[in-house]
């Protein structure tokens, strides 16, 4: 193409993928415009497996102890994993993207579907590292058919917002329908240029709709880093897709396991969560019924208007009957869309668009948590967040915080530049979002995220520090995802003790703990906070999606000894892993694989200065009632807890005394939980992995030991 200004060209002979590995990773430096191939070593496969493991290892080696998110040596690393790209088993195309997060200053690992990760592998690369900063916007193009990687100047008129950039890139790089099917794009948007909560969009070409669809690596601000590096997009063209593209060791094993799981999905999904018809929003009404849906900045757990935004509503809005998997062969097929949605606000007002989603997190985050119960408003916010490259979870939780500050008088129209940010103000939320895209007004302050907003409101608006710190639902600098944790100590730990910050991918123990009361002691909770985070981490090493593990389940599982583990699905995953790699593994091995990467990530946090006990602190809103309003909304429950837990008589106490008693008890309880969890994990009281633990895992690498020794 004559208008492609190619700055660097790197040709390579595409390796055959063997047993899930291409055997090399791609390194791209956009400062020096250098491209190189790096070998995947036996050590990497043994200790880091792939996916999140490869990402963290490569990032560790690329950065210094003092590297900040916007230093040139910060990297974005993306990898799928050895099982990524498998077509036979549902949900086998996931990738993990990693960077030093603008929000937290430590590595974020973000999970994402779409076609990019597996296509990258089939193009010859187990991972891609992008380091440096370009002078002017560049596009990185990986042509897996030609065996060529180019760094190209992005023309000045190339769009930035994803819903425009995607088709623009397709027109530039894909000459035929087949090309379009085999091309995938990573991009962000204008919002990511001005906010720290920028997300990445990963495309997939939808063959029924003949249009681009996008999944998001939402958490942690990786989109912000992409735009900071002046990378407009990363594009890959795959040589193809087939049932044996990973050259698995035992195709028959993959086929038998996959076909059986497809059958299970077909048999049970309709009567269970209806993933194939509504996706993750099935959870909205359930959470409301159990008083766990975040409402008004995590103050309450339910709202009478929830039926306006529950799963039935979304099932009716989403186009039905299409194979909506975000990777080939996913029959859980939950990546639905609302087609032909007309935008009412912003620069694209009047356009009829495909809205990817919404997911549960978006409905709860920008919906109920903000007091917004209008489906059209949720769709509008969902679309603009995606195209602007803004994480809907951080946006929703941060907006809920801003709204509570507005209602408490910390913010007012003077400070917001005239924007009404009462709970329920969808117009206000959208105006802030558009400001984030334009880089102006209150949107610039908002886009910094809760932690920096807290500092800002205290310093510039005279906000009461105690209140603002109590209600700002962030930990480690990352906004909480959308589950009410006040009544589940296990989930408080599940969020507070997560390496990256309060994202629920590691532990989702709310029901087991709070409703089922299956984890009554600290040791029970600690055991669950060992097993489930380790089990759930495993998906991201291999390229799997977690959803097929638990969202469609043969009811015979109820009769097994440990139904919460869904062992027949764990067995499926073991079979797929062995079928692809040819390696024999046990259930214990799967946990150990995760423990290696998990402990490595903890040490990485310590290395960067934010990985000790003090960093596992959580805001009081996540632990108990901050305001009188919250206490009185659940007074019966809180009063009876005073009796049951503390032997106190609530009738003799003022509400302030009752709240203080709760606070002391609950905060102490959280500390006791941390003690129990650290002990189970083999960490010191300060949250440092011991040498003994690292040795047992084979992770006593010299560079790792050098970090922990300073704290032991």
């Amino acid at each position: 193409m004559s208008d492609r200004n190619i700055l660097t060209e790197f040709t390579y002979e595409r390796p055959t993928v063997e047993r899930g590995y291409a055997g090399q990773t791609l390194y791209v430096d956009v400062s020096d415009r250098r491209v190189a191939a790096r070998p995947v070593t036996a050590m990497m496969k043994e200790k880091f497996v792939g996916g999140r493991g490869f990402d963290l290892w490569l990032l560790w080696n690329g950065v210094r102890d003092t590297t900040r998110w916007n230093d040139p040596e910060n990297e974005i690393v993306i990898s799928t994993g050895p099982c990524g790209g498998t077509t036979q088993y549902p949900g086998s195309g996931k990738s993990i993207a990693v960077t030093i997060s603008p929000l937290t200053g430590i590595p974020i690992d973000s999970n994402v579907g779409g076609h990019f990760g597996p296509y990258l592998k089939f193009a010859g690369w187990d991972a891609i590292e992008v380091q440096g900063k370009a002078e002017k916007d560049v596009i990185i193009y990986i042509d897996g058919q030609a065996g060529r990687v180019t760094i190209e100047e992005a023309p000045a008129d190339a769009p930035t917002d994803t819903h425009l950039l995607g088709p623009w890139l397709m027109a530039r790089y894909a000459q035929s329908e087949e090309d379009r099917e085999l091309t995938s794009i990573v991009s962000a948007g204008t919002g990511a240029e001005h906010a720290l909560m920028g997300c990445l969009n990963f495309s997939l070409y939808d063959r029924r709709r003949r249009a681009l669809r996008y999944k998001q690596a939402g958490r942690g601000g990786i989109g912000t880093v992409l735009r900071d590096k002046k990378v407009k997009a990363i594009v890959v063209r795959s040589p193809g897709v087939s049932g044996d593209a990973n050259h698995p060791a035992d195709l028959g094993r993959l086929q038998a396991t996959g076909a059986e799981m497809h059958r299970e999905v077909r048999t049970f999904d309709d009567k269970q969560n209806r993933m194939r018809r509504r996706g993750t929003p099935y959870l909205v009404q359930i959470m409301d019924d159990y008083d766990l849906l975040p409402v008004h900045n995590f103050k309450f757990g339910s709202h009478p208007d929830t039926p306006k935004i529950n799963g039935d509503v979304w099932e009716a809005r989403m186009t039905q009957g299409l194979p909506d998997g975000c990777w080939y062969g996913c029959t859980v097929s939950c990546a639905h869309a609302v087609d032909g949605f007309e935008l009412k606000t912003g620069p694209y007002k009047g356009e009829k668009v495909i809205v990817d989603g919404p997911e549960y997190e978006t409905v709860a985050g920008v919906g109920s948590n903000c007091g917004i119960f209008d489906p059209d408003a949720i769709l509008e916010i969902n679309f603009y967040c995606d195209t602007y490259g803004i994480d809907t979870i951080s946006f929703g939780t941060a907006m809920a915080f801003a709204m509570e500050c507005y209602e408490a008088g910390i913010l007012d129209k003077d400070k917001t530049g005239g924007i009404d940010l009462s709970f329920g103000s969808a117009a206000g939320a959208l105006e802030v979002l558009h400001q984030m895209s334009r880089g102006e007004g209150f949107g610039l302050i908002f886009g910094l995220g809760i932690r920096r907003m807290q500092d800002y409101f205290i310093e510039h608006f005279g906000a009461d520090p105690g209140f603002v710190r109590d209600i700002g639902m962030q930990a480690k600098g990352l906004e909480y995802s959308e589950y009410l944790t006040k009544e589940s100590l296990a989930q408080q730990g599940g969020y507070g003790l997560t390496n990256k910050g309060p994202q629920h991918d590691e532990a989702w123990l709310i029901f087991m703990d709070m409703v089922n009361n299956e984890l009554p002691t600290f040791e029970d909770k600690a055991e669950a906070l060992h097993y489930f985070p380790m089990w759930r981490t495993w998906f991201g090493l291999c390229g799997f999606c977690k959803l097929p593990w638990n969202d469609v389940v043969d009811p015979k599982n109820k009769l097994t000894p440990e139904p919460q583990k869904i062992m027949h699905h764990v067995e499926n995953y073991r079979q797929i892993f062995m079928g692809v790699t040819g390696l024999e593994i046990t259930y214990d091995d799967m946990i150990t694989m995760s423990e290696r990467v998990y402990n490595f990530q903890r040490v990485f946090n310590i290395r960067l200065g934010h990985g000790l006990r003090a960093d596992d602190a959580v805001p009081y809103r996540s632990v108990g009632p901050v305001t009188v309003e919250e206490y009185e909304s659940r007074a019966a429950r809180y009063d009876s807890q005073l009796r049951e837990w503390l032997g106190l008589d609530p009738t003799t106490m003022t509400v302030e005394e009752k709240m203080a008693a709760h606070r002391k008890y609950r905060q102490e309880r959280y500390e006791k939980l941390i003690d129990a969890v650290y002990k189970r994990r083999g960490w010191t009281e300060n949250g440092v992995p011991t040498l003994e633990k690292l040795r047992a895992l084979g992770m006593d690498l010299p560079e790792v030991v050098a970090v922990v020794e300073k704290h032991l």
Binding site: T87, Q88, E181, R207, R208, V241, S242, G243, D244, D250, L251, G252, Q255, G258, A259, E260, M261, H262, R263, E264, V265, R266, R276, Q320, G321, L322, P323, G325, Y328, G329, C330, T331, S333
Partner: protein, 137 residues
């Protein structure tokens, strides 16, 4: 459209149909690669093969399945990504797979088994083409 039809009372369980089918389509005599399976249970015979219902068409993520002018549901191997969603979603279990084949396979009513059946238990008959697949994807 023309579909295969089976008369259980005539079947003698010789499995010649399976041999001829795999020979025709895979150049090897291997019942595991036949698109018709003869099953004997409690003294009676049944046959499993595709009746061209078409439920699989909507499930395929790559549009590899479609109904031709004769009403037969065909799989385009070149498009197929071997995910076996169709295998899992066939209400009859009539889409088959084999570890030496990345793509699955099904009866296309070619009639070779009917020709070869020594007991006359198989024949190609004319039925109405379904207007739409029975099951929602």
């Amino acid at each position: 459209m023309k579909v295969l039809s089976f008369i259980p009372e005539l079947c003698v369980g010789c499995h010649v149909c399976e041999e001829v089918c795999s020979e025709t389509w895979f150049k090897v005599v291997d019942p595991a690669r036949s698109r018709i399976r003869i099953i004997e249970k409690d003294g009676s015979m049944s046959a499993l093969y595709c009746v061209q219902a078409g439920d699989c068409i909507a499930v395929c993520p790559v549009n590899a399945l479609s109904r031709n002018k004769q009403g037969i549901v065909l799989l385009k191997k070149k498009e197929c990504v071997g995910c076996l969603s169709c295998v899992g979603f066939c209400p009859y279990g009539a889409m088959f797979f084999h570890p030496d084949e990345t793509t699955p396979f099904k009866c296309v009513a070619c009639g070779k088994c009917a020709e070869a059946c020594p007991a006359g238990a198989l024949e190609i008959v004319e039925v109405e083409t379904p207007s739409a697949p029975g099951v929602q994807a």
